[in-house]
Chain length 349, copies 2
């Protein structure tokens, strides 16, 4: 942290996460409270580094992502500014800020760049603003930027509660299990690094308004999350895996029945699903999940991750496969490289 | 028809059909009554020819499909025998029968071979048995073999009513619109001709027992069918097309959320979906539908079918594309070739 003259700055790193029990839809759009609870694993290999610099000489907030200035009227910038406002209000701070953020993976392509991004933002911004907030408070702030970001405050296995309070004060994330207590691995098969055509926020609004299955999704998600929590705490890999695939397919069913339909899968996505099922038929315990994008994430045991990575990298249409262990909590500790626990696999340059 | 000595035989042809408003699930498994109504188009290019020969000298029913004797304990044979029993009972006939059936397209691969097959069976068997049944009565008999077969009794646009009667007497099909009154065309993109791993009958049982979205599907299908009926009668192609895609995606959502999941799509299925959407973005009005298999059927206007056929035949993984107009009712009239209205497209040998 730097605090000289009218400038106060801090840098934080947060890791992306993937939900094993998914959420889709909001119970409060203004406060960004999810309609259902969710459970995720934090990924060591995919991270965002963000520097926030409150500077009295700035006339406006500025957001730079992956080296480019994002225009102030862009939705991404507006969400960043909204979170900065919450932090300024809390800190009694008036300065505008420059925010500089960099992902070590493709942005906006279903790899939860908003999760790691907003988690890094709140950790850096609150530190720069001189706030000393608990992890729970930070997760509530991160949720305002992106619900999945609340989960990236924590490492390992994490639950985000939908809560019931109108003000969202009970919609926060907390760790279920440390990653070192159950060191699973994830292989991310990148099939397309283009930015998705429909953002998750817009997609959720459309789904809740049009999918005939949305009420049943809300209702059934409670059971899914409870079963997933029990399976994680019991470290029952088969149960976690089967629930993960079911939750993924239920999410995509919601998207497919949205009008107009949200079809995030491409040919390689489906080929990778079948490759995961074929591995399992051959006796390798591995399970897929897919978010609002075409990439496939495969959950497996460390002893199988090389074989899984090789198999998925060989699927037609898969550009490369990233192997990663489970990641740590978001933190102001930003080592120069991020090679802890993750390793490239065949097909990775 | 032949009727000499102890032998009575007849041959019929029926065409396959594809549902634009899908059904999935049964409200009565024993009577094979569908849980929801459905609306289909009959396809001229995909047909089954079936000869039924009641022969007093036979000790048992025999079923030959595409040149091979199907073992008596096979599910297909049991369903054929069950329908023969209904006809024998009605006709007061004791003779066993030989049934010889041939499809001009791949069997059991999501191309509704059971629809054309059971429709041809009841028309041939009832004629051979000397019964003079109405089209409605024939459709009820065909439904006992395969619900979608009830629709193949008729040409053009057809509705199968789920009905409400316990005995299934009001679960019959009827024509909504003659094919010549609205001559749409269908391009069938064959991505895989292998027999599917899970039959529709087994899949439906599993879905109704396990998908969290099944009750909402039942509830929403009534609206879909009503809207589809109105759109067909109004010949509103855009409305028919959008409802067709929505019904297809809702069906596949049910399958995806079945436990274990029913994933009928392959890479080429999804590539073909995107090709249809790309054609539409380019101004060609064309809409996809997919049944319990990996093939994609594209509904289009006659003036676009050559371009649609060429585009889909060029999709990676599509083996060939069959273009067809709308077919006629099932009938005892079996001309030597079946080239009426259908034509091969690029990629077809």
């Amino acid at each position: 942290m730097e605090n000289t003259g009218g400038v106060r700055s801090a840098t934080a790193r947060a890791h992306s996460n993937i939900a094993l029990a998914k959420y889709w839809g909001k119970r409060d759009a203004a406060l960004n409270i999810p309609a259902v609870s969710s459970i995720s694993v934090t990924l060591d290999g995919l991270s965002t580094d963000t520097t926030v610099r409150f500077d009295e000489s700035l006339g406006t907030d500025e957001f730079r992502l992956d080296g480019r200035l994002v225009p102030a009227d862009h939705a991404q910038s507006r969400r960043v500014v909204a979170v900065l406002e919450l932090i300024r209000e809390r800190a009694g701070l008036a300065s505008r800020a420059s925010v500089t953020s960099a992902n070590n993976f493709p942005t906006g392509a279903g790899l939860a760049s908003s999760a790691s991004g907003f988690a890094a933002l709140v950790v850096a911004a609150s530190a720069a603003a001189g706030l000393d907030l608990s992890a729970r408070e930070l997760s509530i702030l991160a949720r305002r930027g992106s619900a999945s970001a609340a989960r990236s405050l924590f490492g390992g296995f994490v639950e985000l509660h939908a809560g019931i309070a109108d003000d969202g004060s009970d919609s926060f994330a907390e760790q279920l299990l440390d990653g070192e207590a159950w060191p699973l691995e994830v292989v991310v098969a990148i099939t397309d690094s283009a930015v998705k055509a429909v953002s998750s926020t817009a997609g959720m609004q459309s789904t809740s308004a049009t999918s005939p299955f949305y009420p049943a999704w809300i209702e059934s998600s409670e059971d899914t999350v409870r079963e997933m929590r029990e399976a994680v705490l019991a470290r029952d890999f088969r149960a976690v895996g089967e629930l993960t695939e079911h939750s993924c397919l239920a999410l995509h069913s919601l998207m497919l029945t949205t009008r107009p339909a949200l079809i995030y899968w491409n040919a390689a996505t489906v080929a990778t699903i079948h490759a995961v099922r074929a591995l399992r038929a051959d006796g390798v315990p591995v399970y897929f999940t897919i978010d609002a994008g075409p990439q496939v994430k495969a959950l497996c045991r460390p002893e199988d991750s090389q074989a899984v990575g090789d198999a998925l990298a060989a699927v037609r249409g898969v550009r490369h496969a990233i192997r990663t262990g489970l990641g740590r909590a978001a933190s102001l500790d930003v080592p120069p490289t991020d090679s802890f626990h993750s390793a490239p696999t065949a097909g990775t340059s």
